[in-house]
């Protein structure tokens, strides 16, 4: 057990002991190698389930809106719980966004900031192992990950090469503004970002379209991207709405495209680049290629970075007189 994990458990135990929280959202060991998974701890006695390692990829903020949502279907409403949440930089930015959008009750949440050093992307590991998940993992040795494949072969994967893209490009690894911080050495912030986006922008219209077609063609409309996204808390998502039905239900490509265009556009000015959608996608769609474009444009056009301040209005809720309008057609 690592040092951070010990500190974390002590802190959470204190929170329960002090009756500060009713539930803590954290990570526990998963059933598969390289997987830690979200867990809900309800008492000090359960705290030892908690882990903190390089596999805590999930964005836990996704659970907050539903925890705080009014339970209209229940006969008796219980008062909203007091929630502790373990937060990497990205989770914390999501919490800020959710606070801004009234999805989290400020008085009822304690954010525990973690010194995140970047998470391992299971998909990258899988890709390095020719598409199959590892059979077992022997842990990290000298900056490399040691894994065994289903055929019994042992492989060493460079940590850097299997670190999630979002983490490599993370601009705020520290959960700034968290209520409590677990001390440690977070990863360094990355300033050189959007390189892939710029590369993509430089391609021809046709090439970009082909890439878009290729990526979206993989989609099976399972909505894992939506369900994993902390911002996708709508009670009824626009794709599921009828009267009017925004999108046909079939997997006809244009329908699928509009689902993704719509969902990603709904993240404009809200996306914190956690890549929860990317990690959730069973078909390995490169959603980051599209979500990040909007993040970049929002920064460039409106000088806005989501998730950093509760007070600042989301960019699409407001405007400035001198906003760019170079896109306007002049006859």
């Amino acid at each position: 057990m690592n040092n951070i994990e010990i500190k974390l458990k002590d802190l959470v135990k204190d929170l329960f002991a002090g009756e500060k929280i009713d539930v803590l959202i954290g990570y526990e060991n998963g059933s598969l190698p390289l997987r830690s998974r979200p867990c809900f701890v309800h008492s000090a006695g359960e705290v030892d389930r908690l882990v903190w390692n390089s596999y805590c990829t999930n964005n836990l903020a996704v659970y907050l809106p539903r925890i705080f949502q009014r339970q209209e279907h229940k006969k008796e409403e219980t008062p909203p719980p007091r929630v502790g949440i373990i937060a990497k930089g990205c989770d914390a930015r999501s919490v800020v966004g959710l606070l801004k959008e009234n999805q989290v009750i400020k008085e009822n949440i304690i954010v525990i900031g973690m010194p995140c050093s970047g998470m391992i992307d299971p998909a990258k590991v899988e890709a390095a192992l020719d598409g199959a998940g590892p059979y077992s993992c022997q842990g990290e040795v000298d900056g490399s990950l040691e894994v065994t494949t289903s055929s019994g072969e042992k492989k060493r994967l460079k940590r850097e090469e299997v670190t999630a893209e979002a983490c490599l490009e993370c601009s705020h690894p520290l959960a700034e503004g968290a209520d409590l911080q677990i001390e440690g050495e977070p990863k360094e912030a990355c300033d050189e970002r959007y390189e892939k986006i710029r590369e993509f922008e430089a391609k021809s219209t046709e090439e970009r379209w082909q890439s878009f077609v290729k990526e979206i063609s993989k989609c099976i409309r399972c909505y894992a991207c939506r369900q994993a996204c902390p911002n996708c808390y709508c009670k009824i998502c626009f794709v599921d709405q009828t009267k009017p039905r925004w999108i046909g239900a079939s997997d006809e490509l244009s329908n699928v495209m509009i689902y993704h265009i719509g969902r990603i556009f709904h993240q404009a000015g809200r996306c914190v680049e956690c890549d929860a959608c990317v990690h959730a996608c069973p078909m390995d769609i490169d959603l980051r290629l599209f979500t990040q474009k909007l993040v970049k444009d929002v920064k460039e056009l409106f000088d806005y970075v989501p998730g950093l301040s509760v007070e600042e209005l989301p960019p699409l809720w407001t405007f400035k007189q001198d906003d760019s309008q170079s896109f306007i057609t002049e006859p």
Binding site: P65, N102, Q103, Y233, I236, W246, W317
Partner: protein
């Protein structure tokens, strides 16, 4: 008699007055001498200082006044006489012949297109041509042509009658005669406006001699997208884009040789606007404005001028043009001018724009004479500072530039003020009840759509391009369509009968009319539906004239296809339409007025006179506010008796409840239903409107040794001295220096305090009158005695008061030396620094906003401008309103202003408030937003984007709720809501998506 009034003059002031009167339930005749209402504003391209498109903001008002149930427009008419007394006037109105029957004409315009005679277009100042029979301009109201008898071929030769031949409704009437109408009204408002100075009288500038010399109003037409050059800025001589433009200010203003003594008040800003707009059209253009003083005295004006200078490369040259020569080969102008330093320069320009001033018009003066109201020596209506909207004849009020040059918002304010005064006079009379009886509305629940489609031929306007029978045939096969037919003129009265009959016979429950633009005729068809028991929102309009037949005249087949598509689209939309009902809400007929200064008291009295209960809150222990420190007006009127009278009237008025030493603790609610907690008495009052009259304060100077040396005082202190007992101190003075713009127009407060120049001049003159001996210096940046105040500037100079201009960068230096106080100032004309040793230094300290504005703005959810004054809904046309309904502003809370302006604005606020209070209920828009609760996440995006504060979050249910009474139906909330939990009735997502699918 019931409440009736007449407004004479259909410019923006008259329109506003008529609309306000109408909204107050006063039946109003709007008499306009021309063929259409709209006035000069209809000719403007943009409006300063926001560069709003003039027609964009005016045309909805034109439509509104044209269709208001309480307003009757009498166009092409003038008033002959006014007899009787207030509440009981008889007016004779001469209605001149149009040669077109207004009742029959549908405004289709075919006569205009067929008329063979071309004449210079007065709308475009003769810069382009129109026809002898013409609709004056596209947005004209009424949209009925007028025939120019002088040039009509039939009238001249007895042959032609082409227009008559083509007119399918037989509306042409060559025999039409003059008609005298006799009308009874209770009060009258004069709003006949002014006219532009005739630039030909200043022949040294070459107007009418050289092709490239134009007046500012002609230039306005050149800039306008709807003007003679479609907005291409070109010079008249060769149609080429000018590279160098000179704009000369004060043509016919501020000079008495050929022009007028007064300042025309609007030209400086108009010039800055034209410079900016021109540069937007032609990025390379270089504009130079030759001025005497930059009179940017209004809200946002100085910032606007700075923008012209800094962002639009406009040169402001303080100096006069001495002569203009035109190169006979190139028509380029060689202009010789003298700068303020006395240097003579010569420079070439491609175009010279003469900023022509405003002066009393012949027709205004005629009207004044016929109504027997007095004019001043210049020909403007005579008014008293304390009664700015009253004329000398009881029951006759005035607004707009008939009483002196002024810009649009001031005209509009006066209009609302005059309307308030006119309505107050009629206070005891009953409103005429206008009630329409409609049959019981059809319940369409569970009934499948049965659509009736009517395709208009519009004479030949549509039918000559679009194959109307083909469209009828096509749409009759579409699902849901149970009836389709063509009509010669869908808007004609007999067509309404046909539509009603079809509704009845075929049980139609939704109607589509394919005809002209819905922007004018939609209400009429909706009325027809109502009369047939069909909800008026089960109606769609397809525009196959303006947006089809007229723009695709050479492609009849494609135009027909388009007409089918447009009609089909409307059918789909109407199939998915739902009946809508306007929410009504009760109005608590009481007003809360915040601030007991001049503005608050004036507004309170106006409302009380109209029988409304008023709650007047004053934070001090006595009423009067700043007026306590203003002893006389510029004209010399004493204010103390007025204040005393006001105070008494307010105190004894049974309908005014005073709360002294009181503060606002809390305000909640919305139009018609506000709740406010005052402290004291810490009780809640209910009211329907709020008027903010919270005033402003004099700036406390930190500069020029103020507070450190007793010889340094503010203008207010000087005024107290001049009107106090210790005048003797003043009589011994030898040298007095006044410094202008103290605390104004600097980096901290960029705005002009508007009144300080007049105040300084007033006090300087008073000093001189008291004792002519002392030398009085006024150190100024620009003297801003706008409008009729200019004469006092002149008289000050005549009295020997010395005016010295200084720059913002070179402010006067004030220090103490052995001689006492010393003021060093750089005189640009003499090009040297003057050292003056005054024994009194008077600082013209600016006006700063009330520091409590911020709190009030939060209470009422209304915005402040960057300077801390309240920001009205629209700087031009809604100068006392806010986007939030039911809240109004007046006086210094809005911006620095003088007594007359404050009173006018206070009365305007009262008038606007009365339009709310005079109704028992307020009717919301029909097409408003609504929440689908099951989808709403309560994120609050809608709350932020709604400028009308119509949406709130229900903290209990954690969803948004819409106050339909406040919703204006813009739909920004619906487009912003990611969950589509808000939708806009009449433009529901479903309707739009279905329409898209049908494209």
């Amino acid at each position: 008699m019931h409440k009736k009034a007449m407004v004479i003059g259909g410019g923006i002031a008259g329109i506003q007055a008529a609309l306000d009167l109408g909204e107050m339930g006063v039946e109003t005749y709007l008499v306009e001498k021309g063929p259409s209402v709209g006035g000069r504003m209809a000719q403007l391209d943009k409006t300063f200082p926001t560069n709003d498109c003039a027609m964009c903001i005016l045309s909805p008002k034109l439509v509104e006044v044209g269709s208001h149930p309480y307003v009757t427009i009498v166009s092409n008419a003038e008033v002959l006489s006014l007899e009787g007394s207030p509440c009981n006037f008889r007016v004779k109105v001469l209605k001149k012949p149009r040669y077109v029957d207004e009742d029959k004409c549908t405004g289709c315009g075919i006569c205009m297109s067929k008329c063979p005679i071309k004449i210079p277009d007065p709308y475009n100042k003769g810069l382009s041509q129109t026809k002898c029979i013409r609709i004056p301009f596209p947005q004209a109201v009424p949209a009925i042509p007028i025939m120019d008898k002088e040039t009509c071929r039939y009238h001249l030769t007895g042959k032609c009658r082409v227009c008559e031949k083509f007119c399918e409704v037989k509306a042409i009437d060559f025999e039409q005669k003059e008609q005298v109408l006799e009308l009874e009204v209770g009060s009258v408002i004069l709003a006949c406006g002014s006219q532009e100075f005739n630039a030909s009288l200043k022949n040294e500038y070459g107007y009418k001699l050289f092709p490239n010399v134009v007046t500012s109003i002609e230039f306005e037409r050149i800039l306008s997208a709807s003007g003679p050059t479609s907005g291409h800025v070109v010079r008249p001589s060769d149609g080429k884009e000018p590279k160098r433009i000179a704009i000369l200010q004060c043509v016919g203003s501020r000079e008495t040789q050929a022009g007028n003594e007064h300042c025309s008040a609007i030209c400086c800003m108009q010039a800055a606007k034209d410079a900016i707009i021109t540069q937007e059209h032609l990025p390379e253009v270089q504009t130079a404005i030759f001025y005497m003083d930059v009179r940017a005295y209004g809200k946002g004006f100085d910032r606007f001028v700075d923008m012209a200078k800094e962002q639009h490369k406009t040169r402001f040259i303080c100096g006069r043009i001495a002569s203009v020569e035109s190169n006979p080969h190139t028509d380029t102008l060689l202009i010789q001018y003298i700068t303020q330093e006395g240097i003579i320069n010569r420079e070439e320009f491609d175009l010279l724009v003469l900023s022509v001033g405003l002066e009393p018009s012949e027709s205004s003066m005629d009207a004044a004479r016929r109504l027997v109201v007095f004019m001043d020596t210049r020909g403007f209506l005579e008014t008293n500072t304390f009664r700015p909207v009253n004329t000398t004849r009881p029951g006759v009020f005035s607004c707009g530039s008939i009483s002196g040059p002024k810009d649009i918002p001031e005209s509009v304010m006066e209009a609302s003020g005059a309307a308030s005064a006119a309505a107050a006079l009629l206070g005891e009379l009953q409103s005429k009840e206008i009630r329409f009886e409609y049959p019981q509305e059809l319940d369409i629940r569970g009934i499948p759509p049965r659509v009736g489609v009517f395709i208009c031929r519009c004479g030949i306007n549509i039918a000559s391009t679009v194959d109307v029978p083909q469209v009828v045939e096509y749409v009759s096969r579409l699902p849901g369509v149970k009836h389709a037919q063509e009509l010669l003129f869908a808007c004609a009265q007999d067509s309404q009968k046909i539509i009603k009959a079809a509704i009845e016979e075929k049980g139609l429950n939704r109607i589509v009319v394919s005809a002209c633009t819905p922007r004018t005729h939609e209400p009429m068809f909706q009325k027809t539906l109502k009369e047939s028991g069909v909800n008026p929102y089960l109606f769609e309009f397809a525009n196959i004239r303006e947006q089809c037949s007229w723009v695709h005249q050479k492609e009849p087949e494609k135009a027909t296809e388009k007409a089918k598509d447009l009609t089909r689209n409307s059918i789909v939309k109407v199939v998915f339409a739902e009946p809508l009902y306007k929410e009504t809400l009760d109005v608590k007929k009481e007003a809360l007025i915040i601030g007991g200064g001049l503005a608050g008291m004036t507004a309170a009295l106006d409302l009380a006179e109209q029988n409304f209960q008023v709650h007047l809150v004053e934070k001090e222990k006595e009423l009067g506010g700043n007026l306590r420190h203003v002893h006389t007006t510029l004209k010399g009127e004493e204010s103390a008796p007025i204040l005393k009278a006001l105070d008494e009237e307010v105190n004894k008025n049974p309908r005014i409840k005073l709360y002294m030493n009181a503060r606002i603790r809390e305000i909640s609610g919305y139009i018609g239903n506000f709740k406010t907690v005052l402290d004291p008495p810490l009780s809640e009052i209910e009211h329907g409107v709020v008027i903010i009259a919270s005033g402003g304060e004099e700036y406390q100077p930190k500069e020029y040794l103020y507070g450190e040396d007793d010889r340094v005082v503010t203008q207010r202190e000087l005024e107290d001295m001049l009107n106090g007992s210790d005048k003797s101190k003043l009589s011994s003075l030898a040298t007095v220096v006044m410094i202008q713009c103290v605390g104004s127009r600097d980096d901290e407060r960029t705005y002009c305090s508007r009144v300080c120049c007049s105040n300084a001049i007033k006090n300087a003159i008073k000093l001189k009158e008291l004792n002519p001996r002392p030398a009085v210096y006024v150190l100024f940046r620009d003297i801003r005695t706008y409008g009729l105040k200019e004469s006092f500037y002149r008289s000050a100079r005549e009295k020997g008061i010395i005016f010295i201009r200084y720059d913002k960068e070179e402010k006067p230096d004030v220090h103490k030396n052995s001689n006492g106080l010393a003021v060093d100032v750089r005189d640009k004309i003499l090009n040297k620094t003057l050292a003056i040793n005054p024994d009194l230094l008077v600082l013209s300290a600016g006006i700063i906003p009330n520091p409590e504005n911020k709190l009030l703005s939060q209470f009422l959810k209304v915005p402040l401008d960057p300077d801390g004054f309240f920001l009205e809904a629209h700087v031009k046309l809604r100068p006392v309103d806010f986007a939030t309904d039911g809240v109004f502003v007046c006086g210094l809370a809005h911006y620095p202003k003088d007594i007359g302006e404050t009173i006018a604005q206070a009365r305007a606020a009262a008038g606007r408030a009365a339009t709310v209070l005079s109704k028992d209920t307020i009717e919301a828009e029909g097409k408003v937003s609504y929440i689908r609760e099951e989808r709403c996440n309560g994120c609050g995006a809608c709350v932020e984007v709604c400028v009308y504060n119509a949406i709130e979050l229900d903290t209990e249910k954690r969803i948004a709720t819409i106050n339909e009474a406040l919703c204006k139906g813009c739909g920004a909330c619906a487009a912003t809501c990611l969950a589509s939990a808000i939708d806009l009735k009449g433009f529901r997502n479903e309707q739009i998506l279905e329409a898209l699918e049908a494209i």
